[in-house]
Symmetry: C3
Subunit: 318 residues, 3 copies
């Protein structure tokens, strides 16, 4: 694998998934492969799960880690042919090339502007890192996708599905802040690959980009959508069509025990962090059908499997 930015970068998804489960059974089975190798991590925003699970995955492979919070240092210029006499001290051309000298894989977490849709959906920051780095790039979340989260979600569904072709519902839920579409977009990509029946439910105006939602059933009635669901994945996102806008904070979309009762004893999923009693009720999160902690746990093994392939590739190149 050259870089990991989406499911489309993976030559053999089934193999990568099996490898993740193997690492879950035996996390230290390849603890020598990363010896003397370094994972660089660049964060443009705070992170808990992503930071910790990525460190854990790298340490399981014996790698060293060098981490950089961009906001603790100077600002980076991403535009070309600029006269840099403002507040940005270093150009991405140098930053990415220089960091590449010190690391074997470079993990980047960036975020959308939620203002400029065209630039966001070009995945501007991530693509600039890919352009100027000389080592494999590992996306820890970008302006449009959160592929490691989705791989962890995919593993969690695999572990918990009781039927060959489960019904999976991705439901919008209310939230006080403007959030990206990345988790929803990425989840759609992986559910398209999975052998599941995917329904997306949200208020009108919250349609995702058809690039991601085109193979799913869209159902504007949340109660109808939940019927017979085996998995309910809750997530807030801001509007794609009215880009970055909050169109609704309708509390009736909150996931409650009553709503979960409409499902086929459905499992509850969320990528975390989650706002209790805004997105989902305590009773659901604390109930026996909640998978949220296991989703977080699977982040480690999703990342470890991807890192292993990126390291193997790099090794072969040398």
């Amino acid at each position: 694998m050259k870089n990991f930015t989406s499911i489309h970068d993976i030559p053999n998804v089934e193999q990568l998934v099996q490898q993740a489960f193997d690492f879950k059974n035996n996390p230290l089975s390849q603890s020598e492969i990363g010896k003397g190798k370094t994972l660089g991590m660049v964060f443009f925003n705070p992170s808990l799960r992503t930071r910790m699970s990525t460190q854990k995955a790298a340490q399981n492979l014996g790698m060293n880690i060098i981490s950089l919070n961009v906001n603790d240092g100077w600002q980076i210029e991403f535009e070309d042919e600029v006269i840099m006499n403002g507040n940005k001290a270093e150009h991405i051309k140098e930053a990415a090339a220089v960091i590449s000298q010190f690391v074997n894989v470079l993990a980047v977490r960036s975020f959308p502007t939620l203002i400029d849709r065209e630039k966001d959906y070009q995945d501007f920051i991530l693509q600039k890192f890919i352009q100027y780095a000389s080592v494999p790039i590992l996306s820890l979340e970008s302006a449009i996708l959160h592929p490691l989260q989705s791989l962890a979600d995919f593993l969690t569904i695999k572990e918990n599905q009781k039927t060959k072709h489960p019904k999976v519902v991705l439901t919008w839920a209310p939230h006080p802040k403007v959030l990206p579409q990345v988790v929803a977009n990425s989840f759609c990509e992986w559910m398209n690959f999975a052998d599941v029946d995917l329904t997306i439910t949200h208020p009108k105006g919250y349609e995702l980009s058809p690039d991601f939602s085109k193979n799913a059933t869209i159902e504007y009635n949340q109660n109808k959508a939940f019927k017979n669901a085996d998995f309910v994945y809750a997530k807030n996102w801001s509007s794609f069509n009215y880009y970055g806008k909050i169109l609704s904070q309708d509390e009736s979309w909150k996931i409650s025990s009553e709503k979960m009762a409409l499902t086929n004893n459905g499992k509850f999923m969320h990528c975390l962090p989650v706002r209790r009693n805004v997105v989902v009720d305590d009773s659901v999160l604390d109930g026996p059908n909640s998978l949220v902690i296991e989703q977080a746990n699977n982040r480690t093994f999703a990342t470890q499997s991807v890192l292993f392939d990126l390291l193997k590739n790099k090794k072969n190149e040398l």
Copy 2:
């Protein structure tokens, strides 16, 4: 040991203390036990000695470290049954459970509010971590106790005592800021265990909680208290009874060479950081009887001994 939050968590204090001295003699004697294991560190406030000595202790045992500054990320909600539509993005239930997926021991540094005594003396934040984490909790200082500091202090007294039953004086000293009672509380617990004669001296109104001070002699005259002291432990704290208040900044309580001359050639101790010429004079800190740097050094071996027991326990559980 299940968790380490106070001396009362230790099954066999003498054994733990001997183990700490053994590690001081040979820090790398158990450098394989932590291989593939991870210490998580969560800080709610800045830290120098605690952060560095804990890292050093974990590295001496071969552990990896994942560190999180809560203030660099989002705020955590600690109250139950809250509608989380404010500025707190994640509940301690998820935060503690998720971090537990990535680490083998979770070290937490929290602080008192110094406003709400009831909540502080329940050790609210630390107890929430214990409640929701699935791995052993190591207190790096809490709202009421600083047990690793006190264990290091205990080691330092052991190393420097010339008599079987030394006189130890814990003295309040002036300070411009509102400070917790934690170091003083914790020191009392350990001196109660130690075979020493403990006197506490402070201006009226600075009485510690009787839970901690009950076995000590209270002497409001600092000069009298210092008489024949083998060890003088200086520390500022704010009032327990007039909770969180500064009642005095009386400079006459500063520890001077003249005051130390009243002692039995007593050693000077302080947990650091210390404000020179406010809490204690340069001449005392820089004099031959100052133990403050050795106290800091012993932090490493105190922590290493505790971590070793927490790891052994965890290992046995697996």
Copy 3:
């Protein structure tokens, strides 16, 4: 080597340089020497290249790393005999002595005030660390020198020189911010040692301290200076004589392709970060004669060679 703060601390520069090239060929050849040993890193300001290359160097030697951003914690008092009742919580005497308990080598990055020339040119902060630490000090940049950068620059010139006695030009370039003289000072020291013909060019008023520039040719006409240059090292600095002042932002001093055409097919160097199209044109930075990424790469091996000597020394002391 006792400490590393300038070229003058190195007993045998040729040996240290050869050792750096050996590490570049085989970075993990001494990966056991640092086992169980710790590099402490203290930063008073943000850092990208220095932080990452130093970590990489230490990890190549098998060392653990403990890093401290001073600005994330409390402020340190550097003055002696002060009554510390202000905003500074810890004195350098304790800070340096305590950190020394936890690390085997202590790396410090400090900066000049650019206001008080006398104090800056005493290298006040660095010297206080040397005074109070009990372990070797490694300068990661100080108020007057950036010796690891200059060693990396020296390595880069060695690798790229085509003649025995190349012409090296250190040229001032415009910049919107007030910058230190450290890179220029330090480069002069190393070029004095190297077998090169050093010319310094800058607008009037930007003369460096004669302590550093005394063996160089000073040429106020940049075009004349560039003639037949084999290497052009660009850097902005603020005035030494009118201390910390910006006297000129003359754009005609920017390094352009036209100016580089005056050289002997000269290589372009800069320590980074660099402001594109302010200090130097895109065409030069992106051209085939730019060495800036290789300079950054050589930071790792410069530091690794120095750390190796500091570790060996420390080891011998034990």
